[in-house]
Amino acid sequence: MTDVAMMARPQRWDVPFDPAMTDADVRLLLQRREFRDIKPDNFPPHMPLEGILKNDARLVHFRPGDIVVREGDYGNSAFLVLEGRLRVVLAPGLPPDLHGRQHGRQKGFFEALAQLWTNRRIPEVRDIRRYRFAREGLRHDYSSGNVRVFIQDIPAVLDKHRTAGLEDGAIFGEIAALGRVPRTASIFAETDARLLEIRWQGLRELRRYDENWRRQIDERYRANALRTHLRDTKIFEGLDENVLEAIAERTLFETYGSFDWHLSYKQLMQRGENAEAKEPVIAQQGDYPDGVLLIRAGFARVSMKLGTGKRTLTYLGAGDHYGFDELYANWKSGETKPLQTTLTAVGYIDILRVPAEVLEKHVFPRQAQPPKALISLADRPLSDDALIDWAVDKRFINATKAMLIDLDRCVRCDDCVRACASTHGGNPRFVRAGSTFDHWMVTNACMHCADPVCMIGCPTGAIHRSLEGGTVVINDDTCIGCGTCAASCPYDNIRMVEITDVSGKELVDPKTRQPILKATKCDLCESNPGGPACVRACPHDALRRVDFRDTNPFRSPNA
């Protein structure tokens, strides 16, 4: 027998959400009305309710003013209020500085020009006096070791903003956690509050195995977001509210893949394994379609069998749908043809399934022309698949502003890198290196992803989407250098840098003697006039920022 070493197979709960969670905590939770009526028998033996509460949930204490969730943040957990009172800020939303975010102020022409002489030769210089003001809005939670943004003047916020109260028993954050969409409002603690935070995996199991939790989550989703989503879906354009209501009533929610896909994807890439084989199947070629699948968040690969292998035809993202053309053809012809393609989840995907009979009643009769069949993409030459395969395999489909360089034009002069440095205090925010295919390179510059996994878990909300343009930016003032975002980015496009003071001295934490770190990345020159300097600076028109969801991101607008 081959010489082998033994270890227990890793299990899902090897790393609990909070190791401090005790059996006594779980027993107390099980006495609450939210869990009291749950039938433990509905849960499989390997996934008991107690196990979910112990391993996928944690108790969190918030002091008055602590912000629990921030509008616009991407979170991976939901909250149940156990004690205390919270406030949801309805309108107007909290200003960015109260969220620990930066003002999206743009420099004027001369202020931008002044960078010519104000940029420093020493890398990563920071004026540390600035941080003192930022720190006033941060509070250290010594029990958990976390840093939180907090509101100092609660009465002023209550005066200026319309708010609603959340008390004992209220659940919030579940739509953002399961649907991978930004939080729609900010919530802060008005009094001392104790909350149960349930990470998305636990929430998913509660929804799956308990009817009450499923109904509660689904009803809230139906009430809050579903109708808006259906109204914005192209195939339902022009339908009146009553019809949309009927469709919403019959719509089913499904999720596939892992919420933490970026972590497993990085591991697969490091091991040099093919991620495609691990993609969960949503719909299989040859199966009979029972409804149209609307993609609410995430990405999916459309592929078909080819010989003994398969080929990727395209990928679908938020707002796209699958199976509509086959259902329509079946309805029109009266036949029952199976699906001609396979749909697999690329990472995490949130899907709405609208049953076929609903479409046959409300949608197909209004359809003037047959929809274009996805299978028609199979008509293109096989060699044309390679670029799409590359974009999907490398997850570039997530990019809304990928830096794409045409290497057949690029003379490798690095004017783009210099231009980037000139707009960021002398420090470039990307490396002209990255993944290449044929004569295309996607560089290691932030792609401002549609699914920005880097934003999950930032303790201070320093990394966020700017309200102005949706760009993913980092507020240097509130970044605590924890590196969560850099570790999460599947593309290694966020860099942790050691900072120095204005005299060039390296800044070191007096307690740990470790250098102070800050997360840095491309911000699309958001504060600079004229857009990304890298694009403007390329003398050979080789560099573009592209949205991989476009029909053909590789086609140059100037070609």
Binding site: L113, L116, V411, R412, S422, T436, P529, H540, S556
Partner: protein, 271 residues
């Protein structure tokens, strides 16, 4: 090619119209026995100043001053326009007088380096892409050192594993020189692959003298040498695209200085 034609079409069209109009106007003025030299001289100097601004624009990438690609298109066409203006101004290919000849020499050198550089920039990207690897110029020496250290490790391993010194001797006599720094630069600059041919010849030559258990080490060395050849291509081509600017820009600055003095002298004597 289409993209290149499209990029140059507008500046070329406008310049052509400008030169044609100017030539017509100068001809009329010449028929009236007017002085055309001073006008063409001032225009030529203004165009040369305009061409020089491209270098300034590169330093001002923090402000929106239109796309650098458009600037380069105008610069390329402006360079040709300057040549046409130069001939209109001097009425000859080679002027009389040592100072004017010096100025003309500098002007022609700037023009030639400009055209050569423009051509180089259109050709080298494709050659670099064809290597199948991407290297940042400043990191190429580090990459070569890495390859050399790996190659040396392979040779040590071979000597240790086989007890034979043949591969070690071969390495010291041939490949050590090759791995020391970028080689065969002029060949790669012309699109040649002399480096790879040289490696093949050397390796094929020694293969006959090696035992079967040494061949796999030689093959690893050959792969490392091939990787080094690709690094050499990058070093040569990327180096050339940087080096030509170090010739073109100082020459252009010299032309402006010499032309300014020429302009001052002519203006003073014309008073």
């Amino acid at each position: 090619m289409k993209a290149l034609a499209r990029a140059l079409a507008v500046p070329a069209g406008i310049s052509l119209l400008f030169v044609a109009g100017l030539a017509l106007w100068l001809h009329q003025r010449w028929l009236q026995l007017g002085d055309t030299g001073r006008i063409t001289g001032y225009i030529l100097f203004a165009v040369m100043l305009g061409l020089g601004v491209l270098n300034l624009r590169k330093r001002l990438s923090m402000v929106p001053l239109a796309r650098a690609a458009d600037w380069v298109s105008w610069h390329a066409v402006g360079g040709v326009l300057a040549l046409a203006l130069f001939w209109l101004h001097t009425n000859t290919l080679w002027p009389a007088g040592p100072y004017e000849q010096f100025l003309a020499l500098l002007f022609y050198l700037v023009t030639i380096t400009g055209i050569a550089g423009y051509a180089l920039q259109k050709v080298t990207p494709k050659w670099l892409t064809q290597t199948g690897i991407e290297l940042i110029f400043e990191r190429i020496p580090i990459e070569i050192v890495r390859l050399r250290l790996t190659a040396e490790r392979v040779v040590y391993d071979c000597c240790e594993a086989t007890g034979s010194e043949t591969l070690g001797r071969f390495y010291l006599e041939t490949l050590d020189w090759y791995f020391r720094k970028p080689r065969f630069l002029t060949s790669t600059l012309g699109g040649g692959r002399r480096g790879q041919r040289w490696v093949r010849q050397q390796c094929d030559g020694v293969a006959r003298a090696l035992q079967a258990n040494e061949i796999s080490y030689l093959e690893t060395l050959r792969q490392l040498a091939d990787a080094k050849a690709l690094a050499d291509i990058h070093y040569s081509l990327q180096g050339a695209t940087k080096l030509w600017l170090l010739v073109h820009v100082p020459l252009a600055a010299a032309v402006l200085v010499v032309a300014l003095w020429h302009l001052l002298v002519v203006s003073v004597y014309a008073l």
